[in-house]
């Protein structure tokens, strides 16, 4: 088994196996290679990577020419990366001079670049993409003004390549189709507002006594409640107890699904009115949308309870606390629903002309393109037949409602389908239409449909006029909706979405709770948005002198002078923090529930920052016993022991150094100087010989690897923007974008502009029909 793997990894295997390799061997010897790279290889590499030893499964002697080397490009990309980072030649072997390394690296880079320039351009193609959950919810919001929680209604979207918007991986199962049908029905009703509210408001109480709340800490209560109707609700908070006569008022906050909806001050000192059973109530009146929601109420930054035991905290003589939360409603809203205003652009009862106008307008936006006469006719027919058939008799408004229902399950809404003049000819490249480009842009930047301005430009074929696309990207990035990039792109790239599923051990990390979790999310989201909107350099991600904090998170970080629940920009005065690698969100999602893991963090850094994912561990290798860490010896000693095994060392030397560099942060991102009983030593040396002694110094070194980071981010963002994996033929695109990024001083918006202008974003091609896939398609359609 092992030898089989090694054989496969060996370039010789591939050379022996394929025809192209044979051609390569026949190619004329080239003087350039023999004079430049080969001497370097002979001096520094052939010693181990030769035909006999094939160390690590690699025989570099098997590549006698430039052409042979290009035949095995992936392998050589890896070689290049290892030489560039200094990982090879390994520690203990004579180190080449820096100038020699530079020469070898530049020679290879130049060779690859030339090869890419000469390669025939290939934009690839994206499969018809269905909207994922966030795109669906955002599109519903922008189309109808209805808030719909797709995450609690639809099954999870499978992801590939780290993102959940990959066309080939997004499928439609019967369950999802059922949900689409049901959602369309409900959303249409909600949008038109034909659903009568109950005559009497309903009460639902959540309290300690009824055991249907969760106490997250001494001043926070959470409950999950389903709002059955869009409408106004009174939320009544029962607040038992009182504090001392000199107690200060507190601020009570109310959240829905992690979003702060409202705050109000609450008096906590004795009221002098009630003596035996002190109790007060406070009301909030708010509009709440239909759906399953998690509601949270808390006294924000409540210092007072921190001095109390749990028993004291619920003693109404000692403390005022949150006892219950009652929802009373719905009450009809006095204001007209925003959805009605949006949809009913004329009075549909006034005649068919108006109904048609409404339907055309909606379908145009829902399908993100002009609608055909036939499409309008069948929607109109649906609206009227539905109306005629029922015993109740439908009003014109309800006809519109049924038409909306149909639009929302139409493939034109649920899918983004792009057309090819030659769908089965892979050699025919064409630009996507302006209209298709508009949707590509809006789902990339907004995770939603194009707005009227963008669509109008596209329909007028003006999107590709000089300067127009650039101006549109700029405009769209300035729009509030561009926050979707922070939620959907950054949330997955940096894995901070996993904050919702990680569960740090409450025994070891009592500070962990939903408020801290939300604060962590907010910091990273605002930080990402700041770099995006202010067009800051990418190096800010690695180290920045500012971040966004509220009191809770500032305290978590040991930073003084930030008070209150609101987030604000904070200039960092020490080098303990700076950039995403010092943010609690990233540090928490890259930890185990009970402790940190330098291996996971090292891997995280290699995968998400440096774009050099470590090869998976070979089978049956002993794993690090991380359990003994902090007990038997420091983590460092343990890992160093692990690394005496040379097979482990080849990867771990790089991975662990990075992970250890972050050991000053515990598993929820707090600063620390000891782990268990052992002092923390973060110092390390990069393979290129540069050393650091603190996280800040490591960040500085990482900034030196900005080109690698930039390339990594480019690949991730290109994957996200295209909705497909980045392939071999995209290399030129990635290189071009990176060159321009470097020229711009690595400004973030340059990356987005360049992606929008890039070949794979602008164009597509047909698909080669293999016999295989033709058969498959036939099978599927027969079923």
């Amino acid at each position: 088994m092992r030898s089989a793997i090694i054989l496969l990894l060996s370039p010789l295997f591939w050379l022996a196996a394929g025809l192209p390799a044979r051609q390569a061997q026949q190619a004329p010897r080239d003087a350039g290679f023999e004079q430049s790279l080969q001497p370097f290889l002979a001096t520094h590499c052939y010693g181990c990577h030769n035909a006999e030893m094939k160390t690590g499964g690699l025989n570099l002697e098997a590549y006698p020419t430039t052409a042979s080397l290009l035949q095995d490009r992936d392998k050589w990309e890896e070689v290049l990366q290892k030489v560039r980072t200094g990982e090879m030649p390994p520690k203990g072997m004579p180190r080449p001079k820096e100038a020699e390394v530079q020469m070898a690296v530049r020679w290879l880079e130049h060779l690859f670049e030339q090869a890419d320039q000469q390669a025939k351009p290939d934009p690839g193609r994206v499969t018809a993409r269905r909207l994922n959950r966030s795109e669906y919810a955002n599109s519903i919001r922008d189309l109808l003004g209805v808030e719909f929680r797709a995450t609690t209604e639809f099954p999870v979207d499978d992801s590939g390549g780290g993102f959940d918007n990959i066309a080939d991986v997004l499928t439609i199962s019967p369950v999802l189709m059922e949900k689409y049908m049901a959602a369309a029905e409900r959303i249409a009703v909600r949008a038109i507002g034909a659903d009568p509210l109950p005559k009497k408001p309903v009460e639902a109480k959540y309290s300690r006594e009824t055991m249907n709340t969760r106490r997250l800490d001494l001043s926070t209560v959470e409950a999950t409640h389903r709002i059955e109707w869009d409408g106004e609700y009174t939320i009544r908070f029962g607040l038992p107890g009182e504090r001392s006569a000199d107690a200060k008022p507190v601020t009570m906050g109310f959240w829905m699904d992690g979003k702060l909806l409202h705050t109000m001050p609450v008096e906590t000192k004795p009221s002098k009115l009630v003596y035996f059973d002190p109790y007060s109530e406070e009301d909030m009146r708010l509009f709440l949308p239909e759906g399953d929601h998690t509601f949270r109420v808390a006294f924000i930054n409540d210092e007072f309870v921190k001095g109390l035991s749990e028993k004291e905290a619920y003693n109404n003589k000692k403390n005022k606390f949150i006892g219950s939360m009652t929802f009373i409603g719905p009450f009809p809203t006095t204001a007209e629903k925003p959805s009605r205003k949006k949809i009913l652009i004329c009075d549909p009862n006034g005649g068919l002309a108006c109904v048609e106008k409404i339907i055309v307008t909606l379908a145009h936006r829902a399908y993100r393109r002009p609608v055909t006469k036939n499409e309008v006719a069948s929607l109109m027919k649906l609206a009227s037949t539905a109306k005629g058939g029922g015993s109740e008799g439908l009003s014109a408004e309800q006809g519109v409602q049924v038409a909306i229902q149909a639009m929302l399950v139409s493939p034109h809404f649920l899918f983004r389908i792009e057309r090819d003049p030659d769908p089965t000819d892979a050699t025919k490249i064409h630009k996507v239409s302006d209209i298709e480009l508009a949707s590509r842009l809006s789902y990339f930047l907004w995770s939603s449909m194009p707005d009227d301005e963008l669509l109008a430009l596209a329909e007028g074929n003006k999107l590709r006029a000089p300067g127009v696309l650039e101006a549109q990207v700029k405009r769209m990035l300035a729009d509030e909706k561009a926050a979707a990039l922070a939620d959907n792109f950054a949330g997955q790239w940096l894995e901070t979405r996993n904050l919702d599923v990680v569960k740090p051990d409450p025994q070891k990390f009592p500070a962990w709770g939903p408020e801290l979790r939300d604060a962590m999310k907010t910091e990273t989201r605002m930080f990402f948005e700041a770099i995006l909107r202010e067009n800051r350099p990418l190096s800010d991600f690695l180290d920045a002198r500012f971040t966004f904090l509220n009191e809770l998170l500032a305290k978590h970080y040991g930073i003084e002078g930030v008070t209150g629940p609101d987030f604000r920009r904070v200039e960092l005065k020490t080098d303990q923090r700076g950039g995403i690698l010092a943010q609690a969100s990233v540090l928490t999602v890259s930890s185990y529930p009970t402790r940190t893991s330098p291996v996971i963090r090292g891997k995280y850094l290699l995968e998400n920052i440096l774009g050099a994912p470590p090869p998976p561990p070979p089978p049956n290798l002993p794993r690090l016993n991380e359990e003994e860490v902090g007990n038997v010896g420091s983590l460092r000693q343990q890992l160093e022991k692990h690394r005496t095994n040379p097979t482990c060392a080849s990867c771990h030397s790089r991975m662990d150094v990075l992970g250890f560099g972050l050991e000053n942060y515990d598993a929820i991102g707090r600063w620390r100087t000891v782990d268990g009983k052992f002092p923390i030593d973060v110092s390390g040396t990069f393979p290129n010989g540069k050393s650091f002694a603190s996280p800040a110094e490591m960040r500085t070194l990482l900034k030196g690897e900005l080109p690698d980071f930039s390339r990594c981010l480019t690949q991730k963002m290109l994957t996200y923007a295209l909705g497909r994996g980045v392939e071999r033929y995209d290399r030129k695109t990635v290189n071009d974008i990176n060159r321009k990024l470097a020229a711009s001083g690595y400004q973030f918006q340059t990356l987005i502009h360049e992606i929008a202008q890039s070949l794979p974003f602008q164009s597509r091609r047909g698909e080669a029909v293999s016999k295989d896939s033709a058969v498959k398609t036939k099978e599927v359609s027969q079923r």
Binding site: E178, E185, T224, P593, R783
Partner: protein, 447 residues
């Protein structure tokens, strides 16, 4: 018009963490006939999947043949040992690396019911039709739902699922086709609504009107789809085929619902929220599966308890560490102990459920008797990622078919697919071959 009758609608106010009463076992038993098909024993096929392997030394008894004292992990099944069958040495060869390197977790789950070595790629997916779906596609149209897919644990929200395998492989057990996984329902409310409707009470006229509109809507979008399909490349066409197939499936369900107007009273309130407590969530989901069986709404179910590679912590039994990291225990006794406890805890939930199935009479047998429920893991030893001797037990006799109460040790490397073929036979689906199957399993059946 389709509006919900606001006043008559029950407003159920249940919060998270509250126990939801399920009186149906006592009160509802005679409510519906056992089988929709007269004179036929309703045999059900179900798979319950647990991740990250099993501590096999506490799973495998030291003996073969008749089940006597059960090992530690299986202890909760002690009172049920006459109703279960332990199968040893079954192997899922497709889960092995072959030449694809790391990713055993992704691979073993993606190949578990498909017996196909799944494609390692991040940007598209390729598996095979799973055995449950072969059965569902052949006999499923007699029932309201050809199959049900349920689960408990929410998926990882970001990042890689396993070493370059798409998350589709770890998120799903059932595959309708090689590119179309069927996602499990995790939210109890969603499962409830799927089985029993949204709870809205409509008059017969309103219901008819609703169906009529749904039909017209479906007709319209299907016509649209066919129009665009003709001009598309093969992969795009396939995507829209998935869409069309799914719509047709809903049409079929609608028809079924119209033919069968029996109102099913599930005997439980519509649940809200997702219970934080594992046992409660497990109970809710399995109780609804039980009702679906009782009402003969489906015969095929897959249940992915938690996901491969999950780092779920089990505070319910005082284990704060993540499940997956624990399974790489390096023979550390403390860690091995915790993994054993998690394995046992899962079996305990399963045992609780099948105990309830055993209490439901169906003719001269019980619901458990008439079912064959595989409880199993996609990895043998989670520490070393082995794919042989997978922990596999079958609960129930499949309708007087299996000889339960015994442990059968098969020849080493016997394909799991042999078990699937055997079960497919019992479901009346005679397949020539499946995956890497070499035949049917010996010694299982009574006859």
């Amino acid at each position: 018009m389709i509006t919900r009758k606001a006043i008559s609608r029950r407003t159920i106010l249940k919060g998270m963490g509250t126990a939801i009463a399920l009186p149906f076992l006592d009160a509802m038993t005679p409510a519906f006939a056992a089988s929709k098909i007269p004179g036929e024993t309703p045999v059900r096929m179900m798979f319950v999947y647990v991740p990250n392997g099993i501590m096999m030394e506490h799973w495998n008894p030291k003996y073969e043949g008749k089940l006597r004292e059960l090992p530690r992990i299986l202890k909760p099944l002690e009172p049920l040992k006459d109703d279960i069958m332990l199968l040893s040495n079954l192997t899922n060869n497709a889960g092995r690396a072959w030449q694809d390197g790391a990713g055993d977790h992704g691979r073993c789950c993606g190949s578990y019911l498909t017996s196909v070595h799944v494609r390692k790629t991040k940007s598209d997916i390729l598996s095979g039709t799973s055995c449950d779906q072969i059965v569902a596609s052949q006999i499923g149209n007699k029932f309201r739902f050809p199959s049900l897919e349920v689960g408990i644990e929410d998926a990882r929200q970001a990042g890689d699922c396993d070493s370059g395998y798409s998350c589709a492989y770890t998120n799903n057990l059932a595959w309708k086709s090689e590119t179309q996984p069927l996602p499990p329902i995790l939210n109890p409310r969603q499962l409830f609504e799927r089985l029993f409707g949204s709870g809205a009470q409509l008059s017969p006229e309103a219901r008819a009107q609703q169906s009529k509109i749904r039909r017209s809507v479906m007709d319209l979008v299907m016509a649209d789809t066919r129009k665009i399909q003709t001009t598309l490349g093969p992969t795009d066409k396939r995507k829209l085929d998935e869409y069309l197939t799914s719509i047709r499936e809903i049409e079929r369900q609608l028809e079924k619902a119209e033919q069968d107007t029996t109102q099913i009273n599930p005997g439980m309130d519509k649940p809200y929220g997702i219970p934080a407590d594992f046992a409660e969530h497990f109970k809710l989901m399995t109780d609804m599966v039980t009702v679906a069986f009782q009402a003969d709404m489906t015969r095929v179910v897959t249940f992915i308890v938690t996901r491969e590679g999950t780092s779920r912590a089990y505070r319910e039994i005082d284990i704060p560490d993540g499940h997956h990291p624990l399974t790489h225990h390096q023979n550390n006794p403390a860690q091995m102990e915790k993994v054993t406890q998690i394995n046992t805890y899962h079996v305990q939930q399963f045992a609780n459920w099948i105990t309830r199935l055993k209490a439901i009479k169906e003719g001269d047998a019980t619901m458990l008797d008439n079912s064959m429920i595989v409880y199993g893991a996609g990895l043998g030893d989670g520490n070393r990622h082995t794919h042989e001797d997978l922990a596999t037990l079958v609960a129930g006799r499949g309708g007087k078919y299996f000889k339960t109460g015994q442990r059968i040790v098969h020849r080493r490397e016997t394909p799991m697919a042999n078990l699937y073929l055997t079960m497919m036979d019992r479901m009346g689906v005679r397949a020539e071959n499946f995956g890497d199957a070499t035949g049917r399993l010996d010694g299982l059946s009574l006859g």
